[in-house]
Symmetry: C2
Subunit: 243 residues, 2 copies
DNA sequence: ACTATAATACTTGTATACAAGTATACTCCA
DNA sequence: TGGAGTATACTTGTATACAAGTATTATAGT
């Protein structure tokens, strides 16, 4: 798809995706990782040449990324916004906001099946840890939270999630790849936290949920640091984009 | 733009918009109003013919509407989801959620300028009432809430608003047009409510804010009823879409 | 040296062409 | 009458062509 040999986004997750989606996924990763620096101006023609596709899917990708707030479409060219620490904290604000909302709804529902589903996902996360598969772990981690959010059947909360998910996923991917290499011991804590979350949902224990959610989010700081390290590593290993 | 003579969306608001945006705005209004019924399957070719434009802007419009959850893109054709009472309540859930979040941030800020800006907007709403201009009133009403939401400078909260705004605006437009004709007395109450909201922001009075916010949202039920009446009126007055 | 103006090399937005895939309807056969 | 298979008329996804607008650069004149 592109002259760049290395893809940041797992290619096997794109089996059914259109070219436009593929471009969006890959471009998103390059922006989140800092490979494409904030402030860069992207032109449809140049991107089309780089990815060796026509402008149609490029345009589609740019619209998607613009709706996710990581680029801004202007009269001439798309300006990369990227993710500073501020933006990352804001993303977690929103995630906290919607997951809290979701939990309030969950309290009024039967959560047996949900807890079961989450246990299954957590088992898969453990397997991924065991086999050192950062991407698979990230996938299941994202799925864990998506399962919770979708469970209440609230289409507009789901809509927010859908908008947030791609960037979220990218962040988690980059962070987890780094941790699998350098902070392997983190994962016992992460698993424990998710177990706590499941318990809270099963017991409909609001306090426990808030506690585990916050501990989960205290990882944010770690995630941010990981991301910067990841960005540095990537930008050292790869030739910067010249015109 | 289209063979239909009557536009539901105010044309003067589209002066700088691209064809794709125009189509999105108009299509959105037809869907929200019920002119295009939920369950209808839209084809790009047919829409392109109807609006007398090419498929490019149509595709763009459909992506936009899909991201707003009022249509669903499938393998063949886009299925209209529309707004049932459930969806409308969900929209207000989200609005309540983000405006509450915003208020918590506002408490920690200097709200003098914001209160001033809101007073100006409210004055404009009063003028719109005086001159019986439902569209202008709607515009200012939406702007009122947008001003509040943007004031905290939270890009991801703003992102949610941007996603919600078009549908919100459409709902308000249809509802206000109806009320200007049939429930003119409503507006003294609406103005009063907005004044209360400004007071709450100026005084950073959480309780007052919640109160006015909820009274504001108690209009929801009214809005929903208005919408149904509006839908009936429209579908009687206009020939249904045939193939 | 500097400004104004004109040429040019870009940009996006829209229309059109083509390819590949899918549902429908029809025909042929039993 | 019913069913398998094929033809056909759709669908979307992608590439390309063209038009209109904008920034930049170069040139000419003072």
């Amino acid at each position: 798809m592109s002259e760049y040999n290395d893809y940041l986004y797992p290619q096997k997750w794109l089996s059914k995706a259109s070219t436009g989606d593929r471009v969006a996924y890959e471009l998103r990763m390059r922006i989140i990782s800092g490979l494409i620096e904030s402030g860069t101006i992207l032109s449809e023609n140049k991107l089309a040449a780089d990815f060796e596709v026509s402008r149609s899917p490029i345009r589609e990708a740019l619209r998607i990324l613009a709706s996710e707030n990581i680029i801004r479409l202007e009269k001439m060219g798309a300006v990369v916004i990227g993710l500073s620490e501020k933006e990352i904290e804001e993303i977690y604000d929103v995630r906290l906001l919607i997951e809290t909302f979701v939990f309030e709804r969950l309290i009024k529902m039967d959560t047996t099946n949900l807890a079961l589903e989450l246990s299954k996902t957590l088992e898969m996360m453990k397997v991924a840890i065991k086999y050192n598969d950062a991407d698979e772990f990230s996938y299941q981690d994202v799925m864990f939270h998506e399962t919770i959010i979708r469970s209440i059947g609230h289409s507009y909360i789901t809509m927010i999630w859908n908008n947030l998910k791609p960037v979220m996923e990218g962040l988690i991917l980059l962070s987890m790849r780094m941790r699998f290499k350098e902070k392997y011991e983190d994962f016992t804590r992460i698993v424990k936290n998710h177990e706590l979350y499941i318990d809270a949902i099963r017991a409909k224990d609001r306090e426990l949920m808030i506690k585990s959610l916050h501990e989960n989010f205290d990882d944010v700081q770690g995630k941010v640091e990981d991301l910067w390290r990841s960005q540095q590593m990537l930008s050292k290993g790869v030739e910067p984009q010249n015109d």
